[in-house]
Amino acid sequence: MSGAVTMQQALALAGLAVVLALASTLVSLLAKRVPATLRLAATPLLGLAGLAALAAGLIALALGGTVQTTLPLGLPWLPWHVRLDALAGFFLLLIGVVTCAVGLYAPAYVRGFEHGHDSLTALGGFSGLFLTGMLMVVLADDAFLFMVAWELMSLSSYFLVAYHHEHSANRRAAFLYLLMAHVGGLMILLGYGVLAAFGTGFSFSELRAAELPPIWAGVAFALAFMGFGMKAGLVPLHAWLPEAHPVAPSHISALMSGVMLKVAVYGFIRFVFDLIGQFPWQWGVVVLIIGCLSALFGVLAALLQTDLKRLLAYSSVENLGIIFIGLGLSLVFLSTGYRSLGALAFVAALYHCLNHALFKGLLFLGAGAILHSTHERDLDQMGGLLRRKPWTGLFFLVGVLSISALPPFNGFVSEWLTFQAALQAWQLQSGVLRSLIPIASAVLALTGALVAVTFVKVYGVAFLGQARSRHVRRARPGPWGMQAGQGFLALLCLLLGVFPTWVIGLIDAVPRAILGGGLPQAGAYGWLWLTPVSPQTASYSGPLIVLMLAGIGLTVFWGLNYLWSRGAPVRWIRRGDAWDCGFAPPSPRMQYTATAFAQPIRRVFGLLFQIDETMTRQEDGTLRHRLHIGDRFWGLLYLPIARAVESAARRVVLLQSGSVRVYLGWTLATLVGLLWIIT
């Protein structure tokens, strides 16, 4: 009995989160008069909403139950259904964590906007609505509320992308985002339509009961995969993402990349794993292949960028690719009857969702901190920031190590789990699947290694070395609030890497609820040992790794610096100029830039991109190097569609005669036609 009561409380907490987010919107209306409202009331309310969502998610995951209710809103015959189960709880947790960090970070960050001419009301108001939309998508239990919340999320984030609208490039990015979001929304709507056509209504419980013939199930799957994949930025529907995410204010970028993309993953899981429920293995292969393409393309594109926030956005494409590799593996295993292996891959994908939210949020907040104090996004102008912003540098390093999937941080655990799932492919009956899945894991391995290259480039160029421009040289450590936000996420990155058994114990409620079976053996040997399949197959002990790394490292340090030095005749450390093989003293301009660092990779993988590189000699005898890296998908996919739409529009323009009566005539004809069709 008490369990049911606490599930109710979880739902109430989730409701409180929505109310707080809406309150943040309302408070922001005052920001036009009193600019400090945004900093003192609106963003803290956002953080509190995050905290409430976090608590609700934790309770829902810990209890693993389900609670639902209807709201007295919506259409007369279709009230809004709300439901909180383990899956929704997991994503509430994910939204809540990042929002908490943003709530800590944003007050100091938005202070920089108080003296600008952009509307603070718009920033605060749409941030609140954006969070409301995301929370409601996760809580929705019918297609109608889901679509309303989905559109609320898309529209409000459009206004946030267009926030710095004085640059035409930003307006263009925002328009592209709006366009793609709506095409995606349309596909999702059609997907629900297909389900509803075979069901009895629009609530999820009715959709779940719908009996679909295989062909229509395939159509629904294709629509949902395209719709949610578009929002998640999967290749080749990713073009809007690297344009839109970087131009929003940094804490919003963190929310968009860290959280909104996961809401798309949530939609996909809810639609395919929960609502359709039955799938052939071919879907899994499709998801797997698209995931591989996204992962590889995303990381290569990220590697070639020099704009820090754009680079992070491309890296989101890559991480979503990894998540979908996990989901594809899960679909393959589930459809061939290996439920526990399916659960393993599913847990790996969810774990990576959470990890990506944490480290991508952290990295975007770090990029925002750099932007805040230097007004610089171009890596080639940065350098030496570690000594000027030591805390940001430390937290960013944690983010870099996490995203590069290095032990003992969190990114490593989810990739390790994905590998473990892929390595169980030998159990499958089909020989083709047995040979395809290892190739997918090869792609995953290559991706992981390239991510490390990308982020070594970022960290080495931005935080190490010497400053390459004047305003970067004058960078100062940011306000404590911003550092606290990053520190919170960095700490979680470490904890999730060191104690994976606890995290999996929590996540495990989701596959138990959705797939009907979890991973009981993962923590069977205590919290110290992660054994996803069996201890003979594989085991990993995060705590012991950390203990040994720290223990050995400190022992070596102590031994060499104190024990060994006793009685040493010379001074133990001496500072001097850089040696650099005795050449002229190195100047900041002699350092490797981000472009130079990526040059070997550009040469190896150049075919995948449209690279336009020229060297011209100026009149004063200096050489000028121009490099432009284009996305091949623009020429292959988007421009032909745009041209086709334009030429179609040119035909339709004949209808536009300018006379009101002609328009009314068309209206009449349409009305008559529709009525005729209905009868």
Partner: protein, 321 residues
């Protein structure tokens, strides 16, 4: 799980880890000696590498004004991560607790951790050579890491385990079986080992030309004990790859119990195998020339192809349905 975590197991694990750092300079000395003999030189004494390390450890460390704290922390991190990675590879006996703490994927991850910090340290002072070395090292690493993972996945899929002890156990139980997949995995792993430990034809550990350096270019700013740790971890890495190849593909002789006889036999066997591998490496380095940097991707693509063919031939030829 419990059969790993016994007190003698832990003691032996510590002993084996210490053996790794103790033996690492010896292997390098051996390779140098054989190479010198092949080139009709007498060469430095076998224990020269130890003397070099001792000398470096006793010298003061010089650090550039522009270096950040990361520069001074990196040698310790690189050394520790490489050492821990090595500790997971069974050297004398199987069934040690270290193999349960970290499986073969963690091993690759720990090596990647060391590589990332090495590259970051190279970029820290802000010299041109450091950045150059870091960029090249990361390129090689990015192509070598998937090849290595594919090669070890071939082993893992055959033995149905990513635990190195289990893999070796499986082969000892199975006896001598000719597996095409292992042949390819062995080829791929040897190429990766050559590339990752910075040997000819990818990198030349004895080069003095800054523009052709990869690994050494990142260490140019290091001196004293920092340099000693960096050199030492490179030597441990070479020993790690040698042991991995020797004990996984030719596991015979490795101890399966914790008795003195098993340990002695294991030590003798692994020393003999490593000596043979070292001689092969020396011959290879003598007959081959260093490649241009942009030939290196071809070399590593070959490694990737071999590992991939290893996986495929495992699926096609060895499993069947």
């Amino acid at each position: 799980m419990d059969n790993y975590l016994t007190l003698p197991g832990w003691v032996l694990a510590v002993f084996q880890s210490c053996l790794y750092i103790a033996l690492a300079p010896l292997l390098v000395g051996w390779v140098r000696k054989v190479k010198a003999r092949l080139q009709n030189r007498r060469g430095a004494p076998l224990f020269q590498a130890y003397r070099d390390l001792y000398k470096l450890l006793a010298k003061e460390a010089r650090v550039a004004h522009t270096a950040s704290p990361l520069f001074r922390a990196a040698p310790y991190i690189v050394f520790t991560a490489t050492w821990m990675a090595a500790a997971t590879v069974p050297l004398l006996v199987v069934d040690l607790p270290t193999a349960a703490i970290a499986d073969i994927i963690v091993l690759v991850g720990l090596l990647a951790l060391a590589r990332v910090f090495l590259a970051l340290a190279g970029m820290d002072v802000g010299t041109a050579f450091g950045g150059m070395g870091a960029s090249r090292e990361m390129l090689i690493g990015a192509l070598a890491e998937p090849a290595m993972l594919m090669a070890v996945f071939t082993l893992a899929m055959t033995a149905h385990s990513t635990n190195l002890s289990s893999v070796i156990d499986y082969h000892l139980v199975d006896g001598f079986v000719l597996r095409p997949s292992y042949l390819f995995a062995l080829g791929g792993l040897i190429l990766v080992a050559v590339a990752e430990s910075g040997r000819i034809p990818i990198d030349n550990p004895t080069t003095h030309l800054e523009l052709t350096m990869i690994h050494e270019a990142m260490l140019l700013e290091y001196s004293g004990r920092h340099l000693a740790l960096m050199e030492w971890s490179a030597q441990i890495k070479l020993l790690l790859y040698g042991t991995l190849i020797a004990n996984v593909f030719f596991p015979w002789g490795i101890g399966r119990g914790f008795g003195a006889a098993a340990l002695g036999l294991g030590l003798a066997a692994v020393l003999a195998k490593l000596a043979a591998l070292g001689a092969v490496l020396a011959v290879g380095e003598t007959v081959l020339a260093k490649m241009r940097l942009f030939r290196a991707p071809e070399f590593l693509n070959l490694a990737l192809l071999l590992s991939l063919l290893g996986l495929l031939s495992h699926v096609i030829l060895e499993v069947g349905a």
